[in-house]
Amino acid sequence: MDGVRPLLELSGASVRFGPIVALDNVSFRMYPGEVHSLMGENGAGKSTLIKAITGAHELTTGTLTLDGKTVHFDSPRAAHAAGINAVYQEIDLLPNLSVAENIALGREPRRYGMIDNRQMREHATEVLRDLGLDVDPASILGRHSLAVQQLVAIARAISTDVKVLVLDEPTSSLDMDEVAELFRVIRELKQRGVAILFVSHFLEQVYEICDRITVLRDGALVGEYLTTELLRIDLVQKMLGRDPAEFTSRRRAAIEQAAKPAFLSARGVTTFPGIAEADIDLAEGEVIGVAGLLGSGRTALARAITGVDVLEQGVVKVEDRARRLDPPRRALALGVAYSSENRRTEGLLGDLSVIDNITLALQAQRGVWRRIRPARQRELAASWADALGIRPSDLDRPAGTLSGGNQQKVMLARLLALAPRVLVLDEPTRGIDVGAKVEIQNLVADLADNGLAVVFISAELEEVLRVGDQIAILRDGEIVDILPSEGLNFDALLALVARPDMPAA
């Protein structure tokens, strides 16, 4: 790309907050018509960089040039006016208004001082058609799926003259079809010469859509690479600054465990809507990876076998005795623990201290009257924090102030404090940085080696494949197959998970 002038260029940029250096002398450039990925662990400076180019943070030192001219943004509005627009993970549109109203929000066409509805609708129709989106502009935004809402947010972002579009984790709530649709739109924008900054945790997607990758670590620039010339393992290593040997998958010695009787076995388990007629056996020392698309029933299965949802039909046997598992309190007493995919709404109690979070389930099992002494609580929490590597070590901090990976470890510690026999983990690595992800994967392996039966659910098939001894494949609310992960590769798994009418991979 040498010879072409960068559309946007950040040179020697630093952002400091008091003594904290969030971005340290970083240079970064984007060319017209390219999709550029910004990679790094949480805390690497990705958000700061995005905020610096979208006008939310001011640069402490360094310059930002757009189209060759030095610019200075003191607000997101100024950046927006210059043609830099961002769509964030949490959609900041108004679900109660129509699609057309959302697209025009804040800059509605006026006629005689009133909003010109017709022109507004025509404009929206045009924008949506340009992107090839089949959405009725008059429909209420909130009635559409998250994916469509996300696309409408993008339509809104590009409905003005946009030069640089920032997409921050745009795919985290989309399923594979929806991601494909988003990528089609991204390619369309690329054709128009828009520079797109694509930030995502999903390596798969980065490799599929991006032309170049800029890697940040600890607020500093590691380097800028062409996607085609950077091996994945090298990318991960650059992000972490660690030896890639740590990420080799665990090779287990004992696969002949199959003869072991199941600790928990479910037969014909059905909840509505969610999972139908599911049979599954969980044996001690074994990890079952669950692979399936969003809505395939992966979470419903987890909730059905851990007493979170009440069964419509079917039986669950624990150690060969048919048991009622709901409410979760009963399942926990039988040694069956569930960690929800929604850490914030169904897991962590952010206002309570790390200590209280870790000891909560144990305290709940003991009941109100048999309180765990504070000294004992601290001891327990400290030993789990130590064992799982929870940082920082200040256990009196509200748990909500920890990073995503550490919050997830707190959730795990809470369940492990009960000494469970079965651990069902729903998306335990979602939204956390790569380092913490690997730690959690390794932890799951250790727990299985110590005799726990683990169910590991993840939207990332690679991870499921890496962690699972057996892989349960779910489609449309049914378990289609359970097979050993040995001999299964990513493409084969993808083909099994994808709908039959979709071409494999």
């Binding site: 309190r329 209280d356 305290q363 003991r366 109100v368």
Partner: protein, 349 residues
């Protein structure tokens, strides 16, 4: 110093102290406590004595609010409790005997407990919104109380009953000891058992708590039962104070004053983290404010306006926004002062 400033009870306590200070500055007799016949008297002692009903109600309200609920029926429960107790004493052949009063109080408290359990049932089992669930009893309760008293204000002449609100134990009012006992009981339950942390967990996030195996339903229910029982005790104290069961006046608007006291004490209406000590401070603030208005001779028709104005002031004093703004203004003023000083010295040199 900053540690003290950051303590969550600092601003509630500061509000109470400044309110007391205003009174003392305006009239030194406010702080005067005299000993007569081995009993202490004075404005401050009155505040301790008179705050007992609000203290009990606010303690219950704190637990309910911590579970993310609200109990609007406490005033009505006070009325029912007073009506039950007074009707029993009134219909007894010996209204002045300790036995009669004991029976009357126990029955009144049992009835209050049942009413609290009813609220808890509506909220925790049927899942009705707390404000609606307790509104039912708030509206119906006074009718029930009137039904019990037969529509009249039942008055009795009973020394043991009178003692509850007006009597002295050692050198302090008996009602004060009831307050202290209630604070100690609730405080110990919260600290010495797991009730405190489990209540906070349920208040912060009921679903996450359920998934962690917490009996969220039981915890919520028990908060309403406690609130009902404490309101019942408050009802007995109120009835004792006037030796009568007044179904309309007993605990009138006390639910709102109790909510105010809880909030002044720093507990959020959003549920979760709560503070018993904060509520105690909040109650004393509300009560002191009431006394202050009387003390300053504000005509009773206008006293609510003054009350409201001071409440706004106190709430602003505790607001983070105000603290931040004040800090900013202060640092600006200081910066300007130092820079103008520098200029002066430059000019001088």
């Amino acid at each position: 110093m900053t540690k003290i400033l950051k303590h969550r009870l600092f601003w509630p306590a500061a509000a109470l102290v400044s309110l007391l200070a205003v009174n003392i500055i305006a009239n030194q007799s406010f702080a005067r406590i005299t000993m007569r016949d081995g009993q202490l008297y004075g404005a401050l002692i009155d505040i301790l004595r008179q705050s007992a009903p609000l203290m009990l109600v606010a303690l219950g309200m704190t637990l309910v609010i911590a579970t993310r609920g609200i109990d609007l029926s406490v005033g009505a429960i006070m009325a029912v409790s007073g009506a039950v107790a007074l009707t029993i004493i009134d219909s007894s052949p010996s209204p002045g005997s300790l036995g009669t009063v004991a029976v009357a109080v126990v029955v009144a408290l049992l009835v209050s407990l049942v009413l609290g359990a009813w609220n808890g049932f509506l909220v925790s089992v049927l899942g009705i919104q707390p404000i609606i669930a307790t509104l039912v009893l708030m509206l119906a309760g006074r009718g029930v109380a009137l039904l019990i008293t037969g529509g009249a204000i039942t008055t009795v002449n009973s020394a043991p009953l009178k003692f509850i609100a007006s009597g002295y134990l050692f050198i302090l009012p008996f009602a004060f000891f009831i307050s202290v006992a209630a604070i100690a009981t609730v405080g110990l339950l919260e600290r010495r058992t797991a009730l405190g942390v489990l209540t906070e967990a349920v208040g912060i996030n009921p679903e996450a708590s359920r998934l962690a195996g917490v009996r969220a339903r039981g915890i919520k229910w028990s908060a309403y039962v406690a609130s009902g029982l404490l309101a019942g005790i408050a009802g007995v104290i109120y009835a004792s104070n006037i030796s009568a069961a007044d179904a309309n006046a007993a605990g009138f608007l006390i639910e709102l004053y109790a909510i105010l006291a809880v909030v002044l004490g720093g507990t959020s209406l959003m549920g979760g983290k709560f503070s018993i000590a904060g509520t105690v401070i909040g109650v004393l603030t509300v009560q002191t404010l009431g006394s202050t208005i009387l003390f300053f001779g504000v005509p009773s028709a206008q006293s609510p306006v003054v009350f409201a104005a001071v409440v706004i002031l106190v709430v602003l004093l505790q607001s983070d926004l105000v603290h931040r703004t004040a800090k900013r203004v202060w640092s600006q003023v200081r910066a300007e002062f130092t820079s103008s000083n520098q200029q002066d010295t430059e000019v001088a040199s």
